[in-house]
Point group: C2
Chain length 248, copies 2
Amino acid sequence: MLSKSLSKYIQSLHHKKYRQEHGAFLVEGAKSVLELLTSDYRVEVLLSTESFYKENAPLLDKQRVRLEMVTPDELGRAGSLTTNDSCLAVAGTKENRVLVADNEEFVLVLDDIRDPGNLGTILRIADWYGIRKLICSSSTADVYNPKVISASKGSFTRVAWYYCDLAEYLGGLDGARVFGAFLTGGSVHTTDFGTTGYIVMGNESNGIGPEVERFVGRRITIPRYGEAESLNVGIATAVICDNLRRGR
Amino acid sequence: MLSKSLSKYIQSLHHKKYRQEHGAFLVEGAKSVLELLTSDYRVEVLLSTESFYKENAPLLDKQRVRLEMVTPDELGRAGSLTTNDSCLAVAGTKENRVLVADNEEFVLVLDDIRDPGNLGTILRIADWYGIRKLICSSSTADVYNPKVISASKGSFTRVAWYYCDLAEYLGGLDGARVFGAFLTGGSVHTTDFGTTGYIVMGNESNGIGPEVERFVGRRITIPRYGEAESLNVGIATAVICDNLRRGR
């Protein structure tokens, strides 16, 4: 049974303020938790239903982690998912450390991506396309938000991020190639992305802000063949990543 | 003020059963409604707030449509959006008429896409890439679901759809090129899509079902460069559309 104090602690982690205070976040559902357990994240406590434990006993017994058996009802009340009959973990957040593009590496830069679902989707896309680093504006959704973690389908364990003031960050890059996604610009079908660089994606409604736009050396766009006004930022990120990877 | 009978009618259209019974569906929010008003859909009634009416009076006065002035509160209670301070329209559904690919045309085929958000996103992507026809399995989400209409951001006015038994439909196509998205298959980066054909996208969890797979002549896949297990079906649809359009 879930103790009152643990239940209260988990509830607090639904909020960014307490995630930062405690340096901890929630990971929910079988797939995400199983990926978490084989990652380098520190796990504070794992809430498991009987059935999840039975299915994964060899793996779970190997973990040196505090394990609490709970009912699906308790999980539902503790977590953010509407249904969860498997598990929930509390994991330690990582230090916000600066990241830069190595040679032969592309890095995604997110300017004010507000929707947690979009951010989670972008983590999953980055992971599919082998992009291991995200640079996020301070106004971008908190990656430790349970909705982001959940939408990333486990990819949060394989992608690193650095939150910062983007203008300051980009201003400090010396001679780096910075591409930015706009509704007008060179076609991604003919852009020579080379083998390294930064790809800036902008806010859902307003695109890349003027402070960040100053640092974009090459404006790129996804050619439109019909009449929709725009593409969702997750969709656009995927199409751009596909274009920069093809032929390599 | 919204009458009880109209309010009840609108409430009923949240449910597929009543949308089918009444041959009507809901369109919510300024962007979607403005696109609806310039489309060939029949509009039964338009609920408008004072502010939406003031901003769009010339256009609204031109419409021969029953107009009801409402408060944002009434809109919120009537519709499915959490906030809506502009408008809501009741529009007539269209007849479910058979569609086929013309020469020089690609058609998307959706096998059991269950999530309304995904279906709405796919409408928007189809519209961006100039794809004007969708063939949907009977088990695919109802395109007139308010969540689909809303996620399509107005693109539902420019894309047509036909719901049917896919095996029967595909079995009846004579010599057509049918591509299907799988986790294994020929790379979309090197596939020669030609200028016409059908692109089958499968269910969110299970992909293309065996009944439909039999009719797929060419299995295609999106090359993976990292470790994510899969891509969301909306994301995959966009990447495939981008690949079939490039160079044309």
